[in-house]
């Protein structure tokens, strides 16, 4: 008798595209085994494409609904869902789009997708209360370079050669319909996070982005400032720190004294 394991292996192959995978093990009647499998395959493709469209509505608008369904199908065959929770599905779409020939004309698509995945992550991220400002004010000036900040959970940084967040904004439901985004406006440094005002997609100046990126990878404030200064020498370092705190990007800090 067909074991449960073999049945599920055959069914899985059928959902992956083997049209006759269930022949001989399924009662036919009004519909053949292949037709019955096709119903499940349709449900599978439609529901995963819908889940992907929920997370990437701007990518869907940019490529059009029909193309997006096909794109979703191609994506699923390479990066299937790995979780019983559909909210986990689709993280690899930006990377997948980078080598997706059929959409190569839309070079900004992967970065727009990064902004959208960032939005999705931020939406479900943990609620946190950032440290009170007076705690930082109490740290002596000579210790500032030894500060190590922790960043907000579920925060995403996107450095794009394109106006990725401008494109994203122009495709929001509340955006005016006549916005034109000039693709030659150049690079953008984008922060996506959720603070008390909801999910924010914010363009940062390059030095501030470099500072936050260094902080996020564990650098002390001193090293982060040095990095920001190297990347963009005219960065107002104090102003950048204040802005990052105002955005709620920094949620806690400790003082790391160098040893020796």
């Amino acid at each position: 008798m067909l074991s449960l394991h073999d049945l599920q292996r055959r069914f899985a192959a059928g959902l992956g595209g083997e049209a006759n995978a269930l022949d001989g093990i399924v009662r036919s009647g009004t519909f053949s085994a292949a037709e019955r499998l096709q119903i499940y395959r349709n449900n599978y493709n439609i529901s995963l494409a819908a889940a992907l469209g929920d997370v990437y509505p701007v990518v869907e608008q940019l490529v059009g609904e029909g193309f997006f369904s096909w794109l979703a199908h191609q994506f699923v065959s390479v990066h299937p869902s790995r979780s019983g929770n559909l909210h986990d599905f689709g993280a690899e779409l930006p990377v997948f789009l980078e080598s997706f020939e059929a959409a190569a004309d839309l070079a900004y698509l992967p970065d727009v997708a990064r902004v959208e995945w960032g939005w999705h992550r931020a939406f479900h991220a943990a609620d946190v209360e950032p440290f009170p400002l007076e705690d930082l004010a109490a740290v002596p000036v000579e210790e500032h370079e030894n500060l190590r900040f922790s960043v907000r959970p579920g925060m995403t940084l996107v450095a794009s050669e394109f106006p990725a967040s401008g494109i994203w904004e122009a495709h929001q439901p509340e955006a005016a319909t006549d916005i034109t985004v000039d693709l030659d406006t150049g690079a953008e440094w984008v922060l996506v996070l959720r603070n008390d005002h909801g999910v924010q997609v914010v363009r940062l100046i390059q030095g501030m982005y470099a500072m936050l990126q260094a902080i996020a990878s564990g650098a002390t404030f001193g090293d982060a400032c040095e990095h920001a200064h190297e990347v963009a020498p005219d960065t107002d370092l104090g102003g950048a720190l204040r802005d990052l705190m105002a955005l709620g990007a920094l949620i806690d800090f400790e003082i790391c004294r160098p040893r020796g």
Binding site: Y40, H87, H124
Partner: protein
């Protein structure tokens, strides 16, 4: 096994509930409609924070809750996903639902999830596998679960147990309860040509703790029809009739109106809930 059978972890649900979906959060909180309870999809609250939890926290203060899952893949041969169950356990601790449920189905193979409710063969092997899995899930969660019958579009040649006998046996052996989806019974009965009333008559009332009502779609393929469970329409007349039959057999069983695609205004759901309440009430009166 069976140690969770008589659990009373939270106040039992009373009467008719509706599925709480994101488009209705603000409406529900502003109007506090008179329904007995609410049901949410557990996986929609597996995230650590944000709007879903803000609303659910606020709404939970006014209504008893049931947590219904779609992704445990109870019937899969893959190992149970402990991370998934961990999220569910946290959710249970936070919101103290009266009932927790998932489906009699499988949905993943070798780590690939299909995020669908795929049909199982009704064999002794599958029954024994499901019994172990449900027992394991209940042990991890530390509470009883309900298992729901699904709509199906195929039957396996080697199935030897009737679906209703399978449900009863699973509940009996694992100590789980049954969530009887009346719409799914109708859909599967039409698709496979069995008698939906006989299904209901065969289910042991001692196991049934919740019922579901929803709408289905009719797909036509070259002039032949098959019913598809899509939760995107009003409850069909045939399903209301079947629900009356079910109320006679399982009087007073908490019943849910589910609607997941093309979600209508809240008032439409409340209208369906009112109709269910009248039917349930009529049979309660008879039973009393």
């Amino acid at each position: 096994m069976g140690q969770y059978r008589d659990d009373q972890q939270a106040p039992a649900l009373d009467g008719v509930g509706i599925g709480l979906r994101a488009p209705h959060y603000a409406d529900v909180l502003a109007t506090l409609p008179s329904v007995g309870w609410l049901e949410v999809h557990g996986e929609n609250y597996f995230g650590a924070g944000g709007t879903p939890h803000v609303y659910l926290d606020a709404i939970r203060a006014h209504y008893p809750l049931s947590v219904h899952c779609v992704g445990m893949s109870l019937g899969a041969v893959d190992p149970l996903d402990r991370r998934h169950l961990g999220h569910l356990k946290n959710l249970i601790a936070r919101y103290q639902p009266a009932l927790v449920s998932d489906h009699l189905c499988w949905g993943a193979f070798e780590g690939t999830y299909f995020n669908d409710l795929l049909p199982l063969p009704y064999t002794e092997e599958a029954l024994s596998h499901l019994t172990d899995r449900v027992a394991e899930a209940q042990d991890i969660l530390g509470r009883q679960m309900l298992v729901e019958n699904v709509s199906s579009y195929l039957e396996y040649e080697h199935s030897v147990i009737a679906e209703w006998d399978f449900l009863n046996a699973l509940a009996d052996r694992s100590g789980s309860g049954i969530l009887l989806d009346i719409n799914n019974i109708h859909v599967s009965a039409c698709n496979h040509g069995f008698d939906a009333r006989a299904f209901i008559d065969a289910i042991d009332p001692a196991f049934v703790q919740e019922m579901h009502l929803a709408g289905f779609a009719v797909n036509e393929i070259d002039g032949r029809e098959i019913l598809i469970d899509h939760h995107g329409a009003r409850v069909a007349e045939a399903v209301w009739a079947l629900y009356e039959h079910a109320c006679a057999r399982f009087p007073g069983t908490p019943t849910l109106i589910e609607w997941d695609t093309d979600i209508p205004p809240l008032t439409t759901l409340l209208g369906e809930a009112e109709r269910a309440r009248r039917i349930m009430g009529a049979y309660d009166a008879v039973a009393a």
